[in-house]
Amino acid sequence: MTRQEILATIRDILADILDNESLQLTESSTAEQVQDWDSINQVKLLIGLENELNFRFSASEVEGLKNVGALIDLVQRKLLAQT
């Protein structure tokens, strides 16, 4: 998956969680900038990514994720490890 495709996947999952179809995300987006993107919805997003992409995050991997770009980096590493 390209970074753009991962970004689109993250956006779609988060839009569904937040019930906000017009949600727009960029790699520099942070949870603080998005209405209702709180810690619970962040965990829902991570679980959604696990289910969609068939891998499991460990807690240590998701510590201190600063923005969407950092999450894309992590997803890319997980996908690479699968191949």
Binding site: S39, I40, Q42, V43, L46, I47, E63
Partner: protein, 250 residues
């Protein structure tokens, strides 16, 4: 004090004796919290009957379990004892590795632990997460978040109330079973059951044995605000957009 005494189930105790016991418990709790050395905290843990600890260890590691408690009732030694009993578990709090400043990490780590039958401990009356409603405890409105019921629901965990209580010259542990999500139960329905259980346990504690009723700052402020016709809100460090009053105590 007048308000809580009016609610006590121990009304056979005189007002003076009741207050004396509450003040003693509060002083003891504050002393343990502020001046308690690691050795003292360890001694409290050692003082709890081994058979009771072993039984609770088995109970909380035999299936996914979320233990809940509150900011009162010897909360610091309780957290320390839990961490000592379950070194692979997770204690979510205001400080430490699983602190509220990275709520998503703390929740995710707790989910990982609970799914692996390593219990997590949370205090839903704290300032962890975004305010999502209020519960009514003896008439006082307490803003709460959804972190604890969410964690239990997403892991299908059994919820238990985890209490450290004074007994004779030492302490003992008590675990009371709470709700577990039913198959297919919607989150909102489980959250309501979860908070009914939590309110029951809180009211049991606040109306119960005064020797086990050390009053925390947060709860003094919560009941004080109620008597003044207000709602006390703690400062929430994780993405809260609804901050009206502030407190650093936790």
């Amino acid at each position: 004090m007048d308000f809580l005494y009016s609610k006590t189930r121990y009304s056979s105790i005189s007002r003076g004796d009741w207050e004396e016991q509450v003040r003693t418990a509060t002083a003891l709790d504050e002393n343990i919290t502020r001046r308690g050395s690691a050795a003292l905290l360890k001694e409290i843990g050692h003082g709890v009957d081994r058979a009771i600890k072993a039984k609770i260890k088995r109970q909380l590691t035999s299936a996914p379990t979320l233990a809940v408690c509150y900011h009162g009732g010897f909360s610091v030694p309780r957290r320390k004892l839990f961490a000592r009993m379950f070194p692979e578990g997770v204690v979510i709090g205001a400080s430490g590795k699983h602190a509220a400043h990275d709520g998503a990490f703390a929740l995710f780590a707790a989910r990982e632990a609970v799914l692996g039958c390593r219990p997590a401990l949370m205090s839903p009356d704290g300032r962890f997460g975004r305010e999502a409603g209020t519960i009514n405890v003896l008439g006082a409105q307490l803003p709460v978040t959804e972190g604890a019921p969410f964690l239990a629901h997403t892991t299908n965990a059994a919820v238990v109330w985890f209490a450290l209580l004074r007994k004779e010259n030492g302490f003992t542990l008590e675990v009371s079973p709470g709700p577990q999500p039913d198959k297919g139960e919607r989150f909102s329905a489980f959250r309501d059951r979860f908070y009914r259980f939590y309110v029951d346990r809180l009211e049991e504690a606040f109306t119960g044995d005064p020797s086990n009723l050390p009053l925390s700052v947060n709860w003094k402020l919560t009941f004080g605000a109620m008597l003044a016709g207000k709602v006390y809100r703690q400062r929430r460090p994780t993405r809260s957009r609804d901050e009206t009053q502030h407190s650093d105590s936790d």
